[in-house]
Subunit: 346 residues, 2 copies
DNA sequence: TAACATAGGGACAAAAAATATCCCGGGAGG
DNA sequence: CCTCCCGGGATATTTTTTGTCCCTATGTTA
């Protein structure tokens, strides 16, 4: 397949754009159906008119159904979306970019979803799907899986089909820490993922930023201790990476502390740790859960994060610790190569 | 590969067309280089201007070199031609057409070269190559191979690489019959094919249309008898199919006889036999060699014929006897489906 | 050497296609 | 009932493609 994609790019590079765009349109409709032209043209940055001509084509090709309620992708269109994803991957040269990231940072696996989640929310679905299918590829019954929160992480359980045979898997939140919307909290994600896997789950309720005494008293609770011990023995960790400032705000840190963190050059956050652009830990929230030093002992670490804006954060984290697998998107991946002084397009 | 071609046709058929056209252009330049725009636009039925834009693109893509002497395909262009050929096959849906022909006429194998040899002489090369590679796939040392003449058949030895290990193969002309240009006579082709295979060959010099007495005296010659016995025991027959009128003229039949043959509805000729559109034998030239009744006993029969104009002739022959393999081209294959009341494009 | 054929490429008008903009009637939901 | 969004038609404008004609360079032949 890769050869054919390269061949086609050689003889008709325009085709890449056309195919990518149509794929993008189809995908966006799929995730928002039924949707109208105007709404869609707003989501994608495309003039309504040019979207209309494309849509008309897609309808003629039978990939799309246009109803008074809006547009929906046809049965055939769905099939095309699924098949096309891999093809678009090669068409965009993402395999090449993935290889370069692998080589540069030493990851075992790098998976890049086409698109940029900064621009197109649906790309997060793809990342979730990829993370889920990667997890599935090696997960054994009896494993302990720790997960963190975040909007991207929230897509991981959604991308996982209902499975059986994982009754002895335990999914657990990697860190305490609330203060976020419930649907993107680690605990929620852990529960959802467990449900998909047919596995068990354990929740961890430890607020961020407790004082030392309060922390001690909470972590001495037997139920909490039990969960913490699970976390320490996690076989798999799936986690998001955030931009330092954004995460600090979302976690409700004091403005003075935020200022201090940023002054120290923090650009990335993961597990409640803040990293500067060289991958050094510059600040730690006092919360219970997975300690970053434990990462080395974890069998599989899966980092999931995308969006061009997050590229510096991803880069910082990769410099600190190279995960087993990085699941990202095209926007972040291209930017990452740029930050490393390369040109994504060869 | 087939899936990708179908996918591409589904989501961007215009692009598929562009790829086909560029491939066609590249191929035509390759077989005629160095060639100018005007000459090329005459060969292909394309306006000079539109060819010019395409050519410019191909040059920008580095597949083509434009020199004062004319255009030539670059080294990379050659690679693209080679790799793309199979892909174009699926893109044009030729596999689908081939399957339909197989099913309709019961052939074991149908191979379709892209293009139409009526329009583009170079397509005959492709047919020759396909025939050669098919022959190679099953030929055993010790086999007897009988061949006929014709312009298309002449491409079969040219498409055969020099081989070893076929020292005990004997290639022989299937029918006597001269009156053609030497380079497309069965004897010439037999000799050439034998040379490529590293095999032996035997020639057959029996003119067409001898009187009964002359025929008898010739066929009683020991050397002739020996060749005839080889032919009767042929393991493989590779033969062309011609249009009845054209062949009758080329063989130098009397005008009155030609008229009579055509009156009987003859449309096809093979081995010196003439068939009407229903596949009935309506006339036989009196010549020595393979009798058409012997076809049934031949292990492998390979029919090689192409060009939209020949479709009725091919159809007639297929109705008489379904060969093991039919090697034809796109023009003939599409027309064949049409004649059978189908639509080549589904 | 001069005439000739064929090469690529420039220029420009005509045609076609893509694009922007606006508006209309219709159905769903408040 | 009104309002909002839906698809789709109509039209003017811009951009791209296509058709035509001519020019000059280069290599070949008489």
């Amino acid at each position: 397949m890769e050869e054919i994609a390269n061949l086609l790019k050689k003889i008709a590079p325009e085709m890449a754009h056309v195919v990518e765009q149509r794929f993008e349109i189809l995908k966006n409709i799929y995730y928002n159906q039924p949707i109208g032209r105007r709404a869609l043209s707003a989501i994608m940055s495309l003039s309504e008119r040019s979207l209309r001509t494309e849509v008309k084509r897609l309808e003629e090709l039978g990939l799309l159904e246009i109803e008074p309620k809006g547009m929906r992708v046809s049965r055939e269109g769905e099939a095309v979306i699924n098949c096309l994803e891999n093809f678009v991957y090669f068409m965009k040269g993402l395999n090449f970019i993935a290889d370069r990231i692998k080589e540069r940072f030493g990851c075992e696996e790098v998976i890049i979803a086409p698109g940029d989640s900064d621009v197109d929310e649906t790309v997060k679905n793809l990342m979730g799907k990829e993370a889920a299918s990667y997890l599935r590829s090696f997960l054994k019954n009896g494993d302990i899986v720790a997960v963190t929160g975040g909007t991207t992480m929230a897509q991981v359980p959604k991308g996982m089909p209902k499975l059986e045979g994982f009754e002895d898997v335990v999914v657990v939140a990697a860190r305490g820490g609330l203060g976020e919307k419930v649907e993107i909290q680690a605990n929620t994600i852990a529960a959802e993922l467990a449900e998909r896997l047919g596995a068990r789950y354990r929740l961890l309720y430890v607020p961020d930023n407790l004082g030392p005494e309060a922390m001690e008293s909470i972590t001495s609770e037997p139920r909490i201790r039990e969960v913490l011990s699970l976390i320490k023995n996690a076989d798999v960790v799936i986690h998001g990476i955030g931009r330092a400032e954004e995460m600090a705000r979302r976690r409700g840190l004091d403005e003075s502390i935020i200022e201090e963190i940023l002054k120290k050059g923090a650009v990335a956050e993961a597990f409640g740790y803040y990293f500067d652009s060289e991958g050094r830990v510059v600040f730690t929230t006092t919360s219970a859960g997975l300690s970053i030093a434990d990462l080395k002992n974890v069998r599989k670490v899966i980092s999931v994060a995308g969006g061009a804006k997050k590229a510096p954060a991803i880069r910082a984290f990769l410099k600190y610790h190279c995960p087993t697998a990085l699941i990202t998107d095209e926007g972040a991946a291209r930017k990452l190569i740029e930050l490393e002084g390369g040109n994504p397009d060869e």
